[in-house]
């Protein structure tokens, strides 16, 4: 009403994006980087983040060109068919991302919190919670993560600080040892983990100061990359390359090893799991929200919540598919590396190019009209 709070602030966007980028990457990247690049993983991380930076630059350029929301910008720039095709591409990305994160968060719950629980029911419960959050729009979602940000951040930083004393610096060597192929694979993997930045494209109509969106993205990317770097160095220093490569969720294993001064809690892994649970839930929620939004635009849906339920069902099916199915995991990895990454970057480039062409065409037309008038 009068508080003008139906649009989200830049602080909310920043925190939301940090959680989106941090959760999955910090959980999975250390293992991937360690097995591919060893101590050079830090450089892969830096290069991957630079890739994310370039991706964000493309997003920013397109956002500057767009007058309204991104969907209409795509349609106006590349035509109705291409616009719809791009939207379908984005939809598939977000809905599969949601399914994949659902699988990750459910597995996390079943491994660390509820070993005797049912994958099916835990997934359903999480999706229902995401649906409840989605129903009330983006403001509610942004507020949740704005609130919990420091409740997650402070314990995490404290635990990482306490973990410093466990580090063996000789594990950080040898440097410049990994092969070019492995190094580039590691870099691409990092880049892929920063692709949820795509959500920035769709936030323009919801943000109180849309001109600051790209800046928020950069901030989030910087924080997520820095945190990942610190975590990677700590994990590498504690476990060494070989052990780190085989651990499934090394960062949570690390949390179970840290001793708090005073010794009231002997193991913190259960409590610290909540950091990743909530961060992964944030990303899953982003997936549900964005895919619902895209489907709504595609079908011009206004009142009912069909889009949301369709997206939830598809995410659930995807999540169930990943359960115990290594083949599908490999397919998903290929899809992310060879279709999503080039596709997303390609779409942004095409749109920039098409916009330039359209603009120069309009300029030419205007000049011709002026010449005719003269």
């Amino acid at each position: 009403m009068f508080a003008d709070n139906w649009k989200i602030s830049l602080r909310q966007v920043r925190r939301l994006l940090i959680l989106d980028l941090f959760g999955l990457s910090s959980l999975m990247l250390p293992g991937i980087l360690s097995s591919l690049t060893g101590a050079d993983g830090l450089f892969s991380l830096g290069l991957g983040a630079a890739g994310g930076w370039v991706f964000l630059w493309l997003i920013q350029k397109n956002l500057q060109n767009a007058e309204g929301d991104y969907y209409h910008y795509m349609k106006d720039t590349a035509g109705q068919i291409a616009g719809d095709a791009f939207m379908v591409f984005y939809y598939l990305y977000f809905v599969t991302l949601c399914g994949f994160v659902l699988y990750q968060v459910t597995t996390l719950v079943l491994t660390w919190l509820l070993p005797e629980g049912s994958y099916f029911w835990v997934s359903i419960l999480l999706l229902l919670l995401a649906a409840y959050g989605t129903v009330r729009g983006i403001e509610g979602r942004a507020r949740v993560y704005e609130i919990i940000f420091w409740f997650l951040g402070i314990p995490l930083l404290l635990m990482l600080f306490l973990a410093l004393r466990e580090i063996r610096t000789d594990y950080w060597y040898p440097l410049m040892y990994s092969g070019g192929g492995d190094f580039s694979r590691g870099t691409v993997a990092v880049w892929v983990f920063f692709l949820p930045l795509t959500a920035v494209l769709f936030l323009k109509p919801f943000c109180r100061k849309p001109e600051g969106l790209a800046g928020c993205g950069r901030w989030a990317l910087g924080v997520a990359a820095a945190l990942n770097g610190v975590i990677y160095l700590i994990l590498l220093g504690v476990f060494g390359r070989n052990t780190l490569g085989v651990l499934k969720r090394p960062v949570i294993t690390l949390m179970s090893m840290i001793n708090l001064p005073g010794g009231f809690f002997t193991r913190q892994d259960v409590i610290m799991t909540s950091v990743w649970f909530l961060a992964l839930f944030a990303l899953m929620h982003t997936g549900v929200f964005q895919s619902t939004l895209i489907l709504k635009e595609l079908f011009h849906e206004t009142g009912n919540r069909c889009s949301m339920w369709i997206s939830l069902v598809l995410a659930f099916i995807t999540g169930m598919g990943f359960f115990g199915n290594t083949f599908l995991m490999e397919v998903y990895e290929i899809y992310q590396k060879w279709i999503v990454l080039p596709g997303m970057t390609g779409i942004l480039l095409i749109l920039l190019l098409a916009f330039r062409i359209r603009q120069s065409g309009m300029k030419k037309e205007g000049m011709e009209r002026e010449e005719n008038r003269e």
């Binding site: 709070n5 919190l113 403001e139 949740v144 704005e146 609130i147 009231f264 002997t266 839930f281």
Partner: protein
């Protein structure tokens, strides 16, 4: 259809008496007036609401005395010119309106040859007067509390805010109770949209009786199914005055000592009056305690269950062993144990509230000491569960607002259920669910979690009065509820004062 009052006194009397037939508590009298006592007037009042008709001292007595000294032909014009203007008197053109006027507790006056009825103020209905508040106790500050009389309550606020900008908008609720409802606010501070909104909501329902502000609260709140109250309640005039100074609106209802304050946020429920009367260090410390208490009042039994039933690895071995030893011989699972004790505690609480003062205290002693000890001795519950339940109760008592604390008391059972069956995962699901709920809950357009969310709307200044209450010198601006352009509340005449 409304019956108009005419100059014919007999006609008016018959209409009025027909309306109030079989009402033994309404006293009606005919009195002769004029120099020669040739004209008649008629007064009606509710028996106990008028000060035993001490004519000399009461307003109506003085009027009658004057009317006896005037010639008969000047009586009507005198009343029209002089009496209508005296304080709180009110002329009515219809019998029904006049009857309503009398029912507010004043004297109704009819005069032969005068085509209106006048309400003349008197002492009104009996009331309690100003008493000490029973809830929202403070260590420092006034202990005056609201009473059942709306006039007294508005006066208590006015006493603290002696400004012409304080406005009192009167309306009525309840078709049959015709209860006075006052909206008290500072005209230059409130956001106009807020006043319009509450007026709109008050006009949206018609109920037969509004016997307490609680009925109005429930009928005007937006999210009926939320356990969290969307109006702040208070029995303290200083709290109400403080809210008005922040650009909020206070809703007073006749016959209710509880005022409603709107808008309300999580933060306002945690604040108390003496947060601002005490030094900032202790105010901040107690406020942080209250925040922690509000969280633990809802989650503590659930957390205990998830730690002892699911994640025993968190606790040191010694502690774990002593917990296990304490539970030895208890036949119930921990969930049942906790539920048993919580239900017993809620029963004790309810019994303590319903019983008269001294007996209520006895219930506390009987319940807390005797039943608790007996339950432990009989191995029905373990001593640790008694401690958990007692600590949870302490936490819920530390929340300053009863209605707000009730939300946590109810949600506590949800957490017991979730944590009892899902462990720490249940705790996370419950916390996330409640956070999502609270994050989209609003009270008159203000996010319930403000200023933890959307603080940018007021330049992040409202965050200075949340977990920490910074020194008063830093709280120079009013919160978000105040209209823009009127948010400065503190200025120092010398620069830099108050910063150090």
């Amino acid at each position: 259809m409304a019956v108009p009052i005419t100059s014919d006194l007999q006609e008016n009397i018959s209409q009025f008496e027909a309306l109030f037939s079989d009402c033994a508590d309404i006293k009606k009298r005919k009195v002769k007036v004029g120099q020669n006592l040739k004209k008649e007037c008629y007064i009606a009042y509710i028996e106990v609401s008028v000060s035993s008709m001490e004519w000399k001292d009461s307003a109506v007595g003085k009027i009658l005395q004057t009317l006896r000294e005037l010639p008969e032909d000047r009586l009507a014009s005198y009343v029209a010119q002089n009496v209508e203007d005296i304080s709180d008197s009110q002329p009515f053109a219809t019998i029904e309106d006049a009857a309503q006027g009398m029912l507010t507790g004043d004297v109704l006056f009819f005069l032969e040859g005068y085509d209106k009825a006048l309400k003349i103020p008197d002492k009104g209905y009996p009331g309690r007067g100003v008493y000490e508040t029973e809830s929202e106790k403070v260590i420092r500050g006034s202990n005056e509390g609201f009473s059942e009389s709306i006039k007294l309550n508005t006066a208590l606020i006015r006493k603290r805010l002696r400004s012409p900008h304080v406005k009192v908008k009167e309306s009525f609720a309840g078709k049959r109770t015709h209860t006075n409802v006052d909206l008290v606010y500072m005209k230059d501070l409130i956001h106009p949209g807020m006043l319009e909104e509450i007026e709109k909501r008050l006009g949206e329902f018609e109920i037969d009786g509004a016997l307490d502000s609680g009925i109005i609260e429930q009928l005007t709140e937006q999210r009926t199914y939320s356990p969290f109250p969307q109006f702040q309640t208070t029995q303290r005039p200083d709290r109400a005055a403080m809210a008005i100074l922040e650009g909020r609106i206070v809703l007073l209802s006749d016959n209710s000592p509880v005022a409603l304050i709107l808008p309300a946020t999580y933060n306002t429920f945690i604040q108390t009056s003496d947060d601002y009367y005490s030094r900032w260090e202790i105010a901040s410390f107690t406020r942080m305690l209250r925040y922690l208490a509000s969280f633990l009042a809802m989650t503590f039994p659930g957390l205990y269950l998830s730690m002892t039933n699911f994640h025993t690895q968190i606790l040191p071995t010694d502690l774990l062993l002593s917990l296990a030893a304490a539970r030895q011989g208890v036949p119930f699972p921990a969930v049942v144990e906790i539920i048993l004790m919580e239900v017993a505690f809620e029963l004790l609480r309810e019994a303590g509230v319903r019983l008269p003062g001294a007996n209520g205290n006895t219930i506390g002693i009987v319940g807390g000491l005797i039943i608790g000890q007996a339950a432990v001795d009989a191995n029905i519950v373990s001593p640790i569960v008694v401690i958990v339940v007692a600590l949870t109760a302490l936490c819920s008592f530390a929340v300053p607002n009863e209605e707000f604390a009730t939300a946590f008391r109810i949600l506590k059972f949800l957490f017991i259920f979730l944590c009892g069956y899902l462990g720490f995962f249940g705790f996370l699901v419950g916390t996330l669910g409640i956070l999502i709920h609270l994050s989209h809950l609003e009270s008159f357009g203000i996010p319930y979690l403000s200023p933890f969310v959307g603080a940018d709307l007021n330049g992040y200044r409202d965050e200075r009065d949340t977990f920490l209450r910074l020194p008063l010198g830093f709280l120079r601006k009013r919160p978000i509820y105040t209209r823009e352009g009127a948010r400065t509340r503190l200025k120092f005449k010398q620069q830099d004062k108050g910063k150090s």
